[in-house]
């Protein structure tokens, strides 16, 4: 199978959906002429023109509010927020409006918009450009949260998100854009709410998503050398979250590490650990371990940034602690 990069998979997904449905359009800062800060919309303005690939002012709340209004009218907007930290500027629109209006209007409206954004640290962009705050959005009902780790998943899940009648926050990762992976030429979709076992194992389950899947796979290699079989479960979507897959895997391995790039305190991992103990308390051989970012604003200095972010080695040690 051919291999393409994560950002190229995203471009393909958007291009295919735009060819398929005239109602799909893109809007965001520097997505058109510039081609997107992370190249994820490169070439789309050339194919679809400035009506469907719209460069916007730097006005994040406005971008999301406009996309919401357009979605009310039946269009399928795909607004881009350059990084998820800028989503905080648009938080009122995303949470108070996008996530709630379907409910508070008693189901009279559909909200088919997909907000694309980039998260993640590791490139020294410091405290306001590189956080992973997916937990904030998972906390709020009314918006789906999709967070793929591979080019294959990115393409299939973005296509499904765009076709969904619900709002989706589609979180990409800055360190993954250039990662290559197999993506078939022919069309495919990946349903939301289906985790995938990226590596099978029977001794410990590593629940993870986004770039932490890469770290978890590296940790699993390392664990394998110690004779420990680690199962790497990529959630792929955090809302809906494939709880059955989590419980199935942990019921088999009886041990679990949750690895996330977001802050530890009240992170997604806290929720996963809580639910595992609610459902599988008597199956567990050890307390669920959490690997997460340090609870600090991400520092600039390379060594401190690396110290704040979770790595394969942290996952390895957490797994080792409960398997030996």
């Amino acid at each position: 199978m051919r291999e393409i990069r994560y950002y190229e998979a995203l471009i393909e997904a958007m291009a295919e959906e735009m060819r398929r449905d005239e109602d799909v359009f893109l809007m965001g800062e520097d997505i058109g002429l510039f081609g997107g800060t992370f190249r994820a919309t490169e070439g789309l303005m050339a194919e679809f023109g400035s009506r469907r690939v719209r460069d916007t002012p730097i006005a994040e709340a406005g971008i999301i509010g406009l996309a919401l209004g357009a979605a009310f009218a039946g269009l399928r907007p795909v607004p881009e927020l350059m990084t998820i930290n800028f989503a905080i500027v648009a938080m009122d629109q995303i949470i108070n409006h996008v996530a709630k209006m379907g409910y508070m209007f008693g189901g009279q409206v559909k909200l088919p918009l997909t907000i694309r954004t980039a998260s993640g640290g590791g490139t020294q962009k410091a405290a306001q450009h590189s956080h992973s705050i997916e937990s904030w959005f998972v906390n709020a009902p009314g918006i789906r949260v999709v967070i793929p780790s591979t080019p294959y998943d990115a393409k299939g899940l973005l296509k499904t998100s765009i076709r969904s009648d619900d709002p989706v926050l589609f979180i990409e990762h800055e360190m993954l854009y250039s990662v290559k992976g197999p993506v078939p030429e022919e069309e495919y979709l990946i349903p939301l709410g289906q985790a995938e076992v990226k590596r099978a194992g029977s001794d410990v389950t590593i629940v993870c998503w986004s770039k932490m899947v890469i770290e978890a796979l590296a940790a699993a290699e390392q664990l394998g050398r110690e004779g420990i079989g680690a199962e790497v479960l990529d959630l792929r979507t955090l809302d809906p979250l494939d709880w059955e897959a989590v419980y199935d895997s942990v019921a088999r391995t009886r041990r679990c590490v949750v690895a996330e790039e977001g802050w530890r305190t009240v992170g997604v991992g806290a929720e996963i650990a809580a639910r595992i103990q609610e459902h599988l308390f008597h199956e567990l051989e050890a307390p669920v371990q959490r690997v997460a970012a340090a609870d600090v604003p991400l520092p600039y200095a390379k060594n401190l940034e690396q110290a704040a972010l979770p790595h394969a080695d942290d996952i390895f040690r957490a797994a080792l602690k409960i398997t030996t």
Binding site: F25, R51, R54, T56, P57, A59, A61, G62, I64, G65, L66, A67, L68, G69, A70, A71, F72, A73, G74, L75, P77, D92, Q93, N96, H97, M101, G102, Y103, M104, F105, G106, G107, Q108, V109, K110, L111, P141, G142, R144, S164, D165, D166, L192, G193, P240, L241, D242, W243, E244
Partner: protein, 327 residues
């Protein structure tokens, strides 16, 4: 020129809003209605004048003071009252309440409780009109308080930048809750803010429904012709407090009395009589008709069932997944 029928209709709609709102106040006092309830009494001419200038499929966006807009758009008084009562037959199935009325069949995309929050949404609806070249437009109501919010300015910028068919209608009632607009806005003459975005701005007497209607007819024509957005400042007054729980201590009695003398409803009634468009008897009949509608709405609401417990998770999403929480 408006026909006699159209003028009668404006009167009928203003009076309907006035009487229903009085009934809402009564029901709130009886604790049939909860939460925050913001009455529209005093401002009827703005909603009725502006909305009557629209086509049936133009989009209308409102604020948390949305009762008048909902009713002027032709929303069902029964389902309106049932929503305020928190009943299953409410227009939003009891999920929204007073501040979040919507009626999508009438292209009314509702109230929002966040001041200024609906501004970019209105522009997004206008973007859809432009995208589809479908000859429709969006009309967005907001208060003087919204004009100080950041997103208000983003919305105006987008609207002009992309030449979108949207009419911004500011209902300047001079108070953001209890704060005088002069203490909250560097430029308290809201219509002048339009010039900052290169769009026409108009100021009108929002207590005169015919003046509102006349200007809106012109602006609608201008905007529908593809000339981009416009801003209207309609100066008006809410007779009641900001919400039902506001005793209104921040306003002088003399000021309130002055504005009550400008009441849009007796003003139009006088014109209808003077111009022999309606008789005293006919106006009395209208009063009785509306009384009946209010009575029916209150009865409908009171006799409607509450939403079933099983409805708790309905409409969080359009598409459900097995892992979603459910009742």
């Amino acid at each position: 020129m408006l026909t006699d029928t159209a003028k009668n209709r404006l009167y009928w709609q203003m009076l309907l809003i006035r009487r229903i709102e009085e009934r809402v106040a009564e029901m709130y006092g009886e604790q049939q209605i909860g939460g925050f309830t913001h009455l529209y009494i005093g401002q009827e001419a703005v909603a009725v004048g502006a909305i009557s200038a629209l086509n049936h499929d133009d989009y209308v966006i409102s604020t948390y003071r949305d009762h008048g807009h909902f009713l002027a758009r032709g929303g069902d008084p029964n389902r309106f009252m049932a929503e305020l009562f928190g009943r299953d037959t409410g227009i939003c199935r009891g999920k929204g309440g007073s501040m979040h009325l919507a009626d999508v069949d009438r292209y009314f995309y509702g109230g929002t409780g966040i001041v200024g929050g609906s501004m970019p949404i209105a522009v997004g609806l206008a973007l859809a009109c432009s995208y589809r070249e479908d000859d429709r437009l969006a009309l967005c109501f907001f208060g003087d308080g919204a004009t100080n919010q950041g997103v208000w300015h983003e919305a105006l910028n987008f609207a002009k930048l992309w030449n979108l068919p949207v009419i911004f209608v500011c209902e300047n009632n001079f108070y953001g809750i209890g704060t005088d607009v002069r203490f909250s806005s560097a430029l308290s003459e809201v219509y002048k803010k339009a010039s900052g975005y290169g769009m026409p701005g108009y100021r009108i007497n929002g207590m005169d429904v015919l003046e509102v209607r006349q200007l809106c007819d012109e602006v609608v024509k201008h905007v529908r012709a593809g000339n981009g957005p416009a801003l209207i400042e309609a100066r008006c007054y809410r007779y009641q407090g900001h919400s039902m729980t506001d005793p209104g201590r921040y306003r002088a009695r003399a000021e309130e009395d002055l504005w009550r003398k400008r009441d849009p409803i007796p003003r139009l009634a006088k014109l209808l009589i003077d111009e022999r468009i309606a008789t005293e008897e006919r106006l009395a009949e209208i009063d009785a008709e509306i009384e009946e509608i209010c009575e029916t709405a209150a009865e409908f609401a009171a006799s409607s069932p509450e939403p079933p417990a099983s409805a708790l998770y309905d409409y969080v999403f359009a598409e459900r997944y097995p892992s979603d929480p459910h009742a």
